[in-house]
């Protein structure tokens, strides 16, 4: 019974064909995770914050808390 001839050529190319798509796949997955895990939530957070932001109400709250030095609390 004879042994099958082992593969003796193209080993590096075969390794590259195996690993490069995985490398690109992982890199793109990491980038997309950052985009949808950090970038988009941050954009939405800023948009939502200013959509419901009442500057007068926030200013008065900060004023009463004594945050400002140019404006004293009104005592209301």
């Amino acid at each position: 019974m004879s042994l099958q001839k082992p593969i003796m050529r193209g080993l590096l190319a075969k390794r590259l064909r195996f690993h490069l798509p995985i490398a690109f796949g992982i890199a793109i997955t990491v980038a997309l995770s950052y985009k949808f895990g950090v970038t988009e939530p941050r954009k939405k957070a800023y948009a939502n914050f200013y959509k419901q932001y009442d500057a007068v109400k926030e200013f008065n709250a900060m004023r009463e808390a004594g945050v400002f030095e140019s404006v004293r609390p009104s005592g209301k």
């Binding site: 080993l11 590096l12 390794r15 690993h19 995985i22 490398a23 690109f24 992982i26 890199a27 793109i28 990491v30 980038a31 950052y34 985009k35 950090v38 970038t39 941050r42 954009k43 800023y46 200013y50 932001y53 500057a55 007068v56 926030e58 200013f59 900060m62 004594g66 945050v67 400002f68 030095e69 140019s70 404006v71």
Partner: protein, 230 residues
Amino acid sequence: MAHPSQLGFQDAASPVMEELLHFHDHTLMIVFLISTLVLYIIVAMVVTKLTDKLILDSQEIEIIWTLLPAIILILIALPSLRILYLMDEINDPHLTIKAMGHQWYWSYEYTDYEDLGFDSYMIPTQDLTPGQFRLLETDHRMVIPVESPVRILVSADDVLHSWAVPCLGIKMDAVPGRLNQTAFITSRPGVFYGQCSEICGANHSFMPIVVEAVPLEHFENWSSMMLEDT
């Protein structure tokens, strides 16, 4: 202001800083993509015994690793230039303030209508009241009207300083004999902190900047009160 163990930028208080935040996220995403790819390739190269000593060239891969970086650079450059031109737009400021750097304090001059000027020294740590921030508070704050375009003319009296407020996305060098201009709009009322950002001597770390954004009528009351005091 910054908080302990903070990694990222401070929350934006001006539209330009918001744009800079989003641009940084976009660029960092690209950085993570490239770094992950390179790290994987390095590990794969380190753990293999396979090499090909006879490779001389490969047109296909050389085209790929020339075009791909060029495309990535364009993807970074386009939003970058957009923000650069956004920052330079004619913004017709409602107020001009001169910020002068000295060793080791800032002075502010509001000379649009009356002659108002004052110095802004750091409050020493032993004089802080509870709730105040160490090395960040000043005796007089630079007060501005909220949601109004403000122009700041930055210069220095002696050595190089730099007027910086991170949450407004501003940093401008204060150079003796030179007038540098920057402009901003605050999106919300509040108190915004910064520190001198150019080494200027022994107390470089002890000349902070505090910007207080309040509604216009309160700004007018404050400036009248300051004029009466001086």
